[in-house]
Symmetry: C2
């Protein structure tokens, strides 16, 4: 696991380099995200912060997320029902999301060939890939059993 303090410091530098101001809200949001072990959406993140007594507004959460994406700490991994889900990029291997259309469960699968495939096709097209999603919508084994 990467050190939180180190990341927080890097983020501070990133913010400064962009000529922006380093605020306690931005730090609070990053720290909370660094604790996440899984996918999250803005609402979940906002609720977690609130429960801890944070006064950060939802607007600030919405405003901080693109900065964290740009800095490379998080990625938007999929969208469901017009809602975006994010996850930490750190230490993450390329993965696939299996989204069950019945129970809405999301299963994460690591596939080491996926990154190669993407790099190969990006090179072909002279594309610079920043982030990607591979989402497979289908029916999970549980839902297949209980028809």
């Amino acid at each position: 696991m990467v050190l939180t303090t180190e990341i927080v410091n890097d983020f501070k530098n990133f913010i400064k380099k962009k000529g922006l101001k380093y605020t306690s809200e931005r730090e609070e949001i990053l720290k909370e995200i660094l604790k996440s072990k899984d996918h999250f959406d803005v609402d979940e993140l906002y609720m977690k912060l609130r429960k801890k007594g944070s006064k950060v507004s939802k607007a600030s959460v919405y405003r901080t997320i693109p900065l964290l994406v740009e800095a490379g700490y998080i990625q938007e991994v999929y969208k469901q029902d017009a809602r975006s889900y994010y996850e930490l990029t750190l230490d993450k291997l390329p993965h696939i999301h299996f989204i069950c259309v019945k129970c809405k469960n999301v299963d994460e699968i690591i596939d080491k060939y996926l990154a190669e495939l993407i790099q190969k096709e990006a090179k072909n097209k002279d594309y610079t890939p920043l982030t990607y999603h591979l989402e497979i919508f289908g029916i999970c084994s549980n839902c297949k059993r209980r028809v």
Copy 2:
């Protein structure tokens, strides 16, 4: 190219089998979609219909799309700015969408290994895949040149 009349008839059977009513609106929407060579969203489709003098409402377009997805004629291929894009499933090989974050251009790439990769992982997890997207967000070669 698959015969339109055949598809239209299959769709009619699909609708009937579900105990729904086969309406001229549903047929109009399907026929218009069958003409599409590319991705489309609800607005584009609705506008095309209007230009032809169709009286179909946008609500009906929204209501017909899930039926066509369920019947397997179209797929949701990506979302951008909270808007869903669809395309015909017919005769389509597995493909990747490169979405340029600068110019918003979407490039389609056929990759024959993608389907294999998905089938392999689905089998592993005892998953029944229905549809999938591989979206790569990045910067296209054009936008890289004119920085």
